[in-house]
């Protein structure tokens, strides 16, 4: 059987070949076959070439450096192949011998080739990085960064400069966790990177910028260190990099903009805030119109820069970034339709969607622009994209858009977001789940017509699953969503939800390890117990009134003002219920003492809440006047009236208003039943006196507190009845991390 030339070439690599020259010839033959050619790469890997190459480069002596160099180069070419090629490389354990080839005493050309190959391997996120941090390797790498070292041989300057660039790029790619960042910093790399930065050689500068950016990303400590360093002429890095951000080379501009973005986010260059806004931001927006790698990366950097910043989001809107992004996305969809989804441009789509999500995060105007750009249908279809990153980014988009009340009603529904969103709730990726549940929170708000349909689809069953998912953010979002779902809902809806969800689950949430989850769970109780006596009764029955009030009593004893406030409002709602409900509260000394104590809390909101409890408990009711009297007496004896009188002088207007109402109840009681306080006010038999609230049929709901909280939307319109608190409290999900839905472990955006 005749062998193909390829098989011949591979067999010639065997170590028992006497003539190294033949082996070099074979290597060059193989090299020229596989470079640029994916099918040939597959072919050779199947022929078992990787282990042969590994044998060659693992040889200890320094004799055949040319042989090793060619072998290293061939290995590097496989790193440009598809995923299985790269896996073949890393699984074979070829990284360690490659790292050994970096030995400074070896042939500089071999060192350069090994650095190039390693850099190509590390371009893949799947390649394992831990070998680099073991043994002496990091130390060797840092040595190679030093282009001025006296150890270098003369005449090899160009090779050494190239090597330094490659090492900087390797460090940038292996710098993903906090630990890795700190290890690299500890190895002394930073001053050498600074020198590369100031070297005046563009490729070196770009590589240095990449490494520095990777070091300061999400690392305030290193960001501070680097921002405070001085370059050769005494200048600090930031102004220097600001000049580079205007370089004629787009890759340089991108590298500089990325570095500045991370420094800015770490808050270590506040003196340059204006520059970031006026210089860096427009440059990033302009990059959207380029092509290739720069266009692909720019939207992600942009998203990172403007996240959580209203000013920057508005500015980017004004720069017409939205139409540019919209055209990128819709053009890609067109190409996908023609060629089928090949997957090469997935990253560009993902990043563009992320940018849209960031731009429409906080400002209603920006959201409007996104809708007007007619890109919504593409966003919705991207929610079902095969690539997980694209799905997660699309979901982030819908989340940002769903914060708008108007949008909920019209555009999102019309675009058919419900189906894909529902599907995403079963996605395996954590990042996607987080975004999807957050979007869901807003979708199920009262103003949304989707509320009904989504319940019919069995959303509550999904909720139950997600509660036990084991991720804090998902759990929090889920409780939040349920809370919004039952807000101002019909009794039937509330019962339906709780029947499927189960009160036992609610108890678990009320005792959750995360205070934020507890807060939402309390809110949920508050919304359940709102509006109708029947609803309150349901909660009593579901939780068991003993348990409900025990839980409340416990929350009231916490120091956490948020929990305190919500617990008080649960009481406020319960106190609008039947006699039985009120008595349950009044029987508990612990609760009453906590309420009394809260009337002196430093937060006005809590003082107000506690006074509301008093108001509702002492509400005059012609049907059971004696009960009311008993209640008033009880409270008076505890010192509530005296406390109220003292609060007449409170500096908060809201507090003073509530105090007036509460005191009025006490006054009326005093008038009706007399009072051993000796005030001598004649009692009024009818008891309807001058109280404007004297009617037993007065509607409680005007004064009852209910809460609607929209996901971090401080501009949400309040609900129908009077004193609803329009949300805005929760700083909430994913404010510091842009979730890309990759491997998901801390939702960290790493590419």
């Amino acid at each position: 059987m005749t062998l193909t030339p390829h098989e011949v070439a591979v067999s010639q690599l065997a170590t028992d070949q006497a003539v190294p020259l033949d082996r070099i010839k074979s290597l060059r033959f193989i090299k020229n076959n596989i470079i640029g050619n994916k099918t040939k790469k597959d072919l050779y890997i199947q022929l078992g070439i990787v282990s042969r190459l590994q044998d060659i480069i693992s040889v200890k002596d320094d004799k055949d450096s040319q042989l090793k160099i060619q072998a290293v180069i061939v290995l590097g070419s496989f790193a440009f192949g598809n995923e299985s090629n790269i896996l073949a490389l890393t699984n074979s354990g070829v990284v360690e011998p490659l790292l050994n080839c970096l030995n400074p005493s070896g042939d500089p050309k071999l060192i350069e080739a090994a650095a190039r190959t390693l850099n190509a391997i590390y371009a893949s996120p799947k390649a394992s990085r831990h070998q680099l941090f073991m043994g002496n390797h990091l130390h060797v790498l840092v040595q190679l960064l030093d282009t001025f070292s006296s150890k270098h041989r003369p005449g090899q300057e160009i090779v050494q400069v190239h090597t330094a660039e490659l090492v900087a790029s390797i460090l940038a790619r292996c710098c993903e966790t906090l630990e890795q960042q700190m290890q690299i910093a500890d190895s002394g790399a930073i001053p050498l990177l600074m020198r590369l930065l100031a070297s005046g050689i563009s490729k070196s500068q770009e590589a240095a910028l990449g490494a520095l950016a990777a070091l300061v990303k999400d690392n305030p400590e290193l960001a501070q260190v680097i921002a405070q360093m001085r370059l050769e002429k005494g200048e600090r890095p930031a102004p220097f990099i600001l000049r580079l951000v205007r370089d004629k080379s787009p890759t340089m501009r991108l590298a500089a903009a990325t570095c500045l973005t991370y420094l800015n986010r770490a808050g270590v260059i506040p003196e340059h805030d204006g520059d970031i806004m006026l210089i860096v931001l427009p440059i990033l927006v302009k990059m959207l119109q380029l092509t290739g790698a720069v266009q692909e990366a720019a939207p992600q950097v942009l998203a990172h820069l403007i996240w959580e910043s209203e000013n920057m989001q508005k500015a980017v809107c004004d720069m017409e970034a939205i139409p540019k992004l919209a055209s990128i996305i819709s053009q890609m969809d067109e190409e996908d339709n023609v060629y089928g989804i090949v997957g090469q441009k997935d990253k560009l789509k993902e990043n563009s969607l992320l940018a849209l999500a960031a731009i429409s995060q906080l400002k209603e105007d920006c959201r409007k622009q996104v809708i007007e750009a007619k890109v919504l249908s593409h966003i919705v279809s991207a929610m079902s994209h095969p690539a997980v990153g694209v799905r997660a980014a699309a979901c982030q988009c819908t989340r940002s858009l769903s914060r708008s009340v108007k949008n909920l009603r019209t555009s999102l529904v019309d675009a058919g977001i419900e189906n894909p969103l529902f599907q995403l709730l079963s996605d395996e990726d954590l990042g996607v789940l987080r975004s999807a549940t957050a979007t869901l929170c807003n979708i199920v708000l009262d103003v949304s017509p989707m509320k009904k349909t989504i319940m019919e689809r069995g959303i509550v069953t999904k909720f139950v699953r997600m509660i036990s998912y084991g991720d804090n953010v998902v759990r929090l979002n889920t409780v939040w969503a349920i809370k919004n779902l039952v807000f101002e809902a019909e009794s039937e809806v509330k019962e339906n939800v709780m029947r499927q969800f189960g009160y036992n689950n609610l108890v678990l949430l009320l005792n959750d390890s995360e205070p934020a989850v507890q807060e939402q769970a309390l809110n949920l109780v508050r919304n359940l117990a709102h509006k109708r006596e029947h609803d309150i009764e349901q909660v009593f029955k579901g939780l068991g009134n003993g348990q409900l009030l025990s839980i409340i009593e416990e929350k009231l004893s916490w120091d956490d003002p948020r929990l305190l406030e919500h617990a008080l409002y649960v009481l406020v709602n319960i106190a609008t219920g039947s006699e039985y409900h009120k008595q349950s509260i009044l029987k508990r000394q612990g609760i009453l003492r906590s309420v009394l104590r809260s009337m002196n809390h430093e937060s006005a909101a809590i003082r107000v809440a506690s006074i509301w409890v008093i108001i509702n408990l002492t509400w005059p009711d012609d049907k059971v006047p004696h009960s009311v009297h008993e209640c008033v007496t009880l409270l008076r004896n505890m010192g509530v009236e005296d406390r109220l009188l003292a609060l007449n002088a409170d500096h908060d207007l809201d507090v003073r208003d509530r105090v007036k109402t509460a005191l009025h109840h006490f006054l009326m009681d005093q008038q009706q039943y007399g009072h051993n306080n000796g005030n001598g006010v004649p009692s009024d038999q009818t008891g309807s006196g001058n109280g404007r609230h004297g009617h037993s049929s007065s509607r409680y709901h005007d004064l009852q507190q209910q809460q609607q909280q929209q996901q971090d939307n401080s501009t949400s319109s309040s609900s129908s009845s009077g004193d609803a608190f329009g949300g805005g409290a929760g700083s909430s999900m994913d404010t510091t991390h842009i979730v890309t839905g990759g491997s998901g472990a801390g939702g960290h955006d790493r590419r």
Partner: protein
């Protein structure tokens, strides 16, 4: 619309005030020679003017060898040289690699080696088309060369011209320059374009001595246009005095 008029003397006087650094001039010339690949000229110029080449002149040599190989139709040799110079270029430039393979196919067809051509197309080019669907139309075009007589004109006979090789050679040269982190465009043409554009802008605002032929660089006063001409002619009369 009244246009301001500037006389030739006035213009020349202003021009004389502008300082142009000799060093800058030399750099411009060196830049042109290097990018276009005139290695010997660059060396001589460096010797005679004292201008230092910003790059290793060896690298020019390398680029020139590659260019020559392509111009001669030795595509395989060109590929090998490129891979020796920088093994990452063709791995990171699928379009360029496709064009190189495409040219190999064209060379097979030109030599009448039809069977070889078909085999090559199947083994090497079809997979490229699968990996990158956007190359398919170019591939089809090249394949259709096989349907026509070599020496008669056809809708695709442009593929057989030297210009096709030239195009490829420039594409490859640019990629090599970029990988050596040099710009791929010389500065001199850009400056001329700038000059041309500036003159167009100025045309809307005034009449003045223009350069109409860059090789001569003579200042020529335009004949007066009729619109707003009366003012122009009177001032030129004054200027002449």
């Amino acid at each position: 619309m009244a246009k301001k008029a500037i006389s030739k003397d006035d213009w020349s006087a202003r021009l004389a005030e502008v300082q142009v650094d000799r060093d800058d001039l030399n750099k411009l010339i060196m830049n042109y020679l290097i990018i276009e690949g005139y290695k010997d000229a660059a060396e001589k110029f460096s010797q005679e003017s004292g201008a230092k080449p910003p790059v290793n002149l060896e690298s020019i040599q390398n680029r020139m060898v590659v260019r020559t190989a392509i111009q001669r139709g030795n595509i395989e040799e060109a590929i090998e040289r490129v891979n020796d110079l920088n093994p990452e270029i063709l791995d990171t430039n699928p379009k360029l690699f496709f064009h190189l393979q495409q040219q190999r196919l064209i060379e097979y067809i030109r030599e009448g080696r039809v069977t070889d051509a078909l085999e090559f197309a199947q083994e090497e080019l079809a997979p490229r088309g699968e990996e990158n669907p956007e190359f398919l139309s170019e591939l089809e075009r090249t394949m259709s060369l096989l349907a026509f007589e070599l020496n008669s004109p056809s809708p695709v006979s442009d593929l057989l011209t030297p210009a096709q090789r030239q195009k490829l050679a420039s594409e490859l040269n640019s990629a090599l320059l970029l990988s050596q982190s040099q710009e791929k465009d010389p500065k001199l043409p850009a400056l001329l374009k700038m000059c041309w554009w500036a003159q167009q802008q100025l045309d809307e605002r005034c009449t003045y001595p223009k350069i109409k032929d860059f090789t001569k660089a003579e200042l020529v006063m335009e004949p007066m246009s009729t619109a707003g001409g009366s003012q122009g002619s009177s001032s030129s009369a004054v200027a002449g005095a």
